[in-house]
């Protein structure tokens, strides 16, 4: 596959195919992040679509020294935030809705959205949720997350740690530690 910087340059000059290639590499992570953040498949689709539109429009102003994935994650987080605000105003979907299709993957998605993990994520403080999702679902490093959130790496470490622990508490996981090795 053509390397990212070449794809970015092509996309910056208006090449939609190049942009599609860039997005193809990120769509799963972006969409999963949106699903988990919003707890709604259709809201997540809207948020990803909005992020892609914003990214496309702003792409000529993207600077090469930044990572494209980091950049688009920032846009995605804002689109998620806006979608959440829209829902709060009554303009979005209800939680755990899944578009009606014949795709069997939708069953898994629906199951996940009505599951305990999503319920716990919905309860988790927003600050921690973004950090743990980017770390443990998207697989981003805490350095990347720090860049995306615009905070110090130590802040990200703290948020990830607290977020993980709080999530486990919300899931009802016992914090009882094993006797050995610690």
């Amino acid at each position: 596959m053509e390397n990212e910087s070449k794809l970015v340059k092509r996309a910056q000059s208006g090449d939609k195919n190049a942009f599609a290639e860039l997005i193809e590499q990120e769509q799963q992570r972006l969409y999963t992040l949106a699903v988990r953040e919003l707890g709604s498949a259709s809201d997540a689709e809207d948020a990803v679509q909005e992020a892609l539109i914003r990214a496309w429009r702003a792409l000529p102003r993207f600077r090469a020294e930044a990572s494209f994935s980091t950049w688009i994650y920032r846009i995605q987080l804002n689109a998620i935030h806006d979608q959440r605000s829209k829902r709060a105003r009554g303009g979005g979907s209800s939680l755990d809705d899944v578009p009606e299709t014949a795709d069997p993957r939708d069953a898994l998605l629906a199951s996940e959205l009505s599951g305990a993990l999503q319920a716990a994520l919905n309860e988790l403080d927003e600050t921690y949720r973004a950090a743990v999702l980017m770390s443990d679902v998207s697989g981003l490093s805490y350095r990347e997350i720090a860049g995306i959130l615009g905070v110090a790496e130590g802040t990200v470490k703290s948020r990830i740690f607290r977020g993980r622990a709080e999530l486990a508490r919300l899931l009802g996981t016992s914090g009882a530690a094993p006797e050995s090795n610690l």
């Binding site: 914003r54 600077r63 920032r74 959130l149 703290s158 530690a177």
Partner: protein
């Protein structure tokens, strides 16, 4: 470390195997007899496992392709905007005035992840670590928000030594401007596309190219947040202005003028060389002197 609880950063680094041998031994010593820290480690491990083993989802192909196909025109790369930035800035100015000082410098190099950035990282983490709850009585151990002040202080404390002198070759000292007065907030939400998010609202983090003017309240530091120390800006090298405020305020302000900027890991604000003059002019006209570095990166 044996007698006090490990803070969240230390616990994270312990779990990640990032502590050096000495710290690791001290952490082992504490954790061996501390049920609370041991419990937190177990919980965090469990939470991470639940997330890491969860399924990933693909966006429906037809939705993705239709989105791509319907994309409209791209924005032009402009440096001057039409947003009523002065009106918006007046709301942020009092926040900036209490939050610290921003030094604007120009460097003639790319490298957003410069040596300056690297040198800043330990300082950031040190601040976070120092501020995080470590008391033996367990104060601040509640998971929800107890370390927020420490967290966010770390973000604002991230200032670094500037890069080598040759990187600051284009600067000219600027006079310290006066602080603006308060008028009214801008209702212009259309510019909401960038700026690293203020620590209080991490979800608002968009592309550095077009900052989102966050509400002034979101940009205000918490009482626990100390103004960051002034970076050692080389005299005569690259300094074009010095202004007041957290880096987020500067980025957001510049965005209102359609000047792209972003916050580097060392806390500096970076702008493209082509807008250096506009940046210096705008900041010199509106902000008093202070400590966050803003530099120009070429090739952006």
């Amino acid at each position: 470390m044996e007698d006090t609880h490990l803070n969240d950063i230390q616990l994270f680094e312990y779990a990640n195997g990032e502590l050096d041998d000495g710290d690791r031994l001290r952490a082992d010593g504490h954790i061996a007899h501390c049920d609370e820290c041991r419990s937190l480690l177990t919980l965090a491990e469990s939470g991470a496992s639940a997330l890491q083993s969860s399924p990933r989802f693909d966006l429906r192909a037809e939705r993705l392709s239709s989105t791509i196909n319907e994309l409209g025109p791209q924005e032009k790369r402009e440096t001057r905007g039409v947003i009523p930035w002065r009106r918006w800035l007046t709301v942020l100015a009092p926040v900036a005035a209490v939050a610290g000082v921003v030094v604007i410098v120009v460097i003639a190099n790319n490298g957003g992840d410069s040596g300056a950035s690297e040198s800043a990282a330990p300082a950031q983490e040190a601040v976070a670590e120092a501020a995080a709850p470590t008391s033996a009585d367990g104060e601040g151990r509640a998971l929800q928000g107890s370390a927020q002040a420490a967290d966010e202080a770390a973000a604002d404390a991230a200032l670094a030594e500037p890069d080598s002198a040759d990187l600051f070759s284009e600067a000219a000292p600027a006079e310290a401007p006066s602080a603006p007065t308060v008028e009214a907030a801008s209702e212009d939400a259309s510019a909401a596309e960038s700026a690293p998010a203020p620590a209080e609202e991490p979800a608002r983090a968009e592309e550095p190219a077009a900052a989102s003017p966050a509400p002034a309240a979101e940009l205000a530091p918490s009482p626990a947040e100390e103004p960051a120390p002034s970076p050692a800006v080389p005299e005569g090298d690259g300094l074009i202005a010095s202004v007041t405020g957290p880096a987020e305020v500067v980025v957001a302000f510049l965005a209102t003028m359609e000047i792209e900027s972003s916050i580097a890991p060392d806390g500096a604000v970076e702008v493209a060389r082509e807008v250096a003059d506009a940046t210096a002019e705008a900041l010199a006209a509106e902000f008093p002197a202070g400590p966050v570095v803003v530099r120009v990166i070429e090739g952006g």
